[in-house]
């Protein structure tokens, strides 16, 4: 789950981390008493909003509303800006960097900090970057913070505040099931305060059951992806036109890859998972049809999943939706013969993934 900046601020505040004052607005006239001077920031789930013109400065209420008028409705990446966050302008003396993420290989949280902030962390030279793994079972111990302070070489009163932010960020990382807590820049103000100049927060989707309060947060999904998500279906829209549906994430990816090797382009990734409940299959197929693919490539390797029950779901979905999209069905494994019988007259059978992909490309070119 990704968080809008203003929402991340809320969570940061809950953990006692210093964030700038600010107000959220979805209409210019909603801005009544902004902290002046201020920065008006587009709330979107992608980076690069500054370059796109989604961040503007204002010194008066009128200027703030003007900025909001310009930003609201703007398109940034695939998104239309619906809300702006009007935040106090920070009088920044220097910019630092702080983040906590998970190092998959080390199987541990990774704390990173640098005295060089406000720039992409990848462009920070390795010797200027403090990196340490935090053992998950014991957590962030003070020695780590001492080492961090030494590496960054900041004056004591700044350093103490940075340590405090790091400690609280770790508490947030663990407490909120975060994948990423990133503060860039971590701003040192001219008056000596240390404040989160930006707040990036991503929380593990799989931890939703522990954080039901996040379930309704808007995510970067298309409306159709949102519908699939609500139904518990793994569905991703892609920029091609051939709908790919398979059982298992790896197999679905592999099917898309083979399709591409044969000159086709996948328009959708739909992983049926381990289900062979015809009702579930039908539901999934209906989502796929709504994406209006020119051809559907179905690839089932039946092991535990029985091929014939998948076929029943496919048949029912096509009948219920009354659409005439060619379905290329490559079905292997348990009960494959019965599956073929069920799909007779509906689908084009194929033996291998390669053959199915070739057929999909051909039918598409033929405009079938």
């Amino acid at each position: 789950m990704k968080f809008y900046e203003y929402k991340a601020h809320e969570i940061f505040r809950k953990y006692g981390m210093p964030v700038p004052r600010g107000v959220l607005a979805s209409r210019p006239e909603d801005i009544m008493d902004p902290p002046l001077p201020c920065v008006v920031k587009a709330q979107v789930l992608v980076g690069g909003r500054g370059k796109a013109g989604g961040i503007k400065f204002a010194h008066t209420l009128e200027e703030a509303r003007e900025a909001a008028r310009a930003i609201l409705g703007m398109t940034i990446g695939p998104y239309t800006v619906r809300e702006v966050f009007v935040q106090e302008m920070l009088d920044i003396a220097r910019e630092l960097y702080l983040s906590i993420t998970v190092d998959r290989s080390a199987r541990a949280p990774l704390l990173m900090a640098s005295a060089l902030g406000g720039i992409d962390v990848e462009s920070v030279p390795a010797d200027k970057l403090f990196k340490v793994h935090i053992p998950p079972l014991v957590g962030l111990q003070p020695y780590v913070l001492r080492a961090l302070a030494k590496k960054l070489g900041l004056p004591t009163e700044i350093s103490n505040q940075v340590s405090d932010v790091a400690r609280k960020a770790y508490a947030l990382f663990r407490g909120e099931d975060a994948e990423l807590v990133e503060i860039n820049p971590l701003a040192v103000l001219k008056d000596g305060r240390v404040v989160a100049g930006d707040a990036k927060l991503i929380v593990d989707d799989n931890a939703e059951f522990r954080h039901p309060e996040y379930a309704e947060l808007p995510q970067d999904r298309t409306p159709l992806e949102e519908e699939a998500h609500d139904k518990g279906i793994t569905f991703i829209q892609l920029d091609g036109d051939i709908g790919v549906i398979a059982n298992g994430a790896g197999l679905t990816m592999a099917t898309l890859d083979v399709l591409s090797l044969k000159g086709g382009r996948g328009g959708a990734f739909l992983d049926l998972g381990g289900t062979d409940d015809p009702e579930k299959v039908k539901e999934a197929f209906e989502i796929l049809l709504k994406a209006k693919p020119s051809v559907i490539l179905l690839n089932i390797f039946g092991g535990i999943t029985k091929a014939d029950t998948v076929a029943v779901g496919v048949k029912e979905a096509l009948e219920a939706m009354r659409v005439n999209v060619p379905v290329i069905a490559r079905i292997k494994g348990v009960n494959e013969d019965r599956a073929r019988e069920i799909l007779q007259g509906i689908g084009y059978p194929a033996e291998t993934i390669g053959e199915a992909a070739e057929l999909a490309v051909k039918l598409r070119a033929g405009g079938a």
Binding site: V102, R104, S105, R107, A108, P109, E122, P135, P136, L137, R174, D177, E179, D204, D205, N206, A207, F209, R210, T234, I236, L238, D239, A246, N247, G248, A249, G250, L251, T252, M253, A254, L256, D257, V258, L259, S260, L261, G266, F269, D271, G274, F301, G303, I304, T305, K332, G333, V334, T352, I353, G354
Partner: protein, 293 residues
């Protein structure tokens, strides 16, 4: 730590956590059919019942005390998985297969770190488990696609693995072991660790790696593979996956330019490992290379 034939053989005394659930019952049947010695099941509150003749206990401690179980496979829903895993580790199992998907990775971090401290080998989560063909299965993969042989298979995927194993078997080869290490970002046994296990395994003469986008485990594996004598072949899924999207598996995501299929294919190529374009081409690669000694 348990050593192979690979971690699991006829002597393994397996416990099934969550045995009374739909999945637990179904796969207990299939594992028994494969000849696995399942000595106990655990579902809190269901002590005294049996599932396919296997006695059910309230806790892992009771199960281990009564039956001498030394390995466990978990079919426990994600919210209870950490609890169940730590209980099994505390009860003393040496091998823990976590089939459950959608476990928060923070829970997995705790479980795998604790397991390591207690010398318990974890496979998964979000994995099909492992099988020693002809000997035993602690997993959910279909029984019929395997045949005892000398090809060791390591995979981050489920059905894609079955597809590839099926092709290997149909081509006349057989498998010494198949480890489904799981599709999550944090897993108990990484691809390179699994490779070390298979490198030491006497019955494994050649190795097939099935990787996918996300993380850097294939790159790390490629580095280790350079020192190994057994021939290795690979397949990588997700060449066409868009960056920033989670492709079904929690771990299958290209983030900040890291974890692309190309990076993995390049790493394998540099280590002299042939990478198949099509999943079934793994069988062709095996056929075309000289039989290992």
């Amino acid at each position: 730590m348990l050593e192979l034939a690979v971690l699991l053989d006829e002597r393994t005394r397996l416990l099934v956590q969550g045995i009374t659930g739909h999945q637990g019952q179904f796969h207990t049947r299939a594992m028994l059919d494969y000849g696995t010695k399942i000595v106990a099941g655990v579902t809190p509150g269901k002590a005294g019942e049996t599932v396919h003749g296997v006695p059910v206990f309230d806790s892992c401690f009771d199960a281990v005390d009564e039956t001498g179980a030394n390995a466990s496979i978990m079919f426990v829903p994600a919210p209870y998985a950490k609890d169940a895993a730590v209980e099994a580790i505390e009860a003393g199992v040496r091998l823990l297969v976590i089939v459950t998907e959608r476990i928060p990775f923070h829970d997995t971090l705790d479980v795998v770190t604790y397991a390591r401290a207690k010398a318990c080998r974890v496979i998964g989560p979000n994995c099909p488990g492992l099988i020693s063909p002809g000997k035993a299965k602690a997993g959910i993969m279909p029984n019929h696609i395997f045949r005892p042989g000398d090809v060791g298979v390591i995979s981050r995927s489920g059905t894609l693995t079955y597809e590839i194993v099926h092709a290997i078997t149909e081509a006349g080869f057989g498998e010494s072991a198949c480890l489904g290490i799981g599709g999550d970002p944090v897993i108990g046994t990484s691809m390179s660790e699994a490779l070390e296990l298979l490198a030491k395994d006497r019955e494994t003469k050649r190795i097939v790696l099935v990787g996918e986008i996300g993380g850097t485990t294939e790159e790390e594996t490629a580095k280790r593979a350079r020192r190994m004598r057994k021939p290795i072949y690979a397949y990588i899924a997700g060449r066409t996956a868009p960056p920033g999207r989670r492709m079904g598996h929690a771990g299958a995501i290209i983030s900040r330019g890291m974890g692309t299929a190309q990076s993995k294919i390049d790493a394998f190529a540099k280590a002299g490992i042939p990478v198949a374009d099509y999943p079934v081409d793994i069988a062709r690669l095996l056929r075309e290379s000289p039989a290992p000694s």
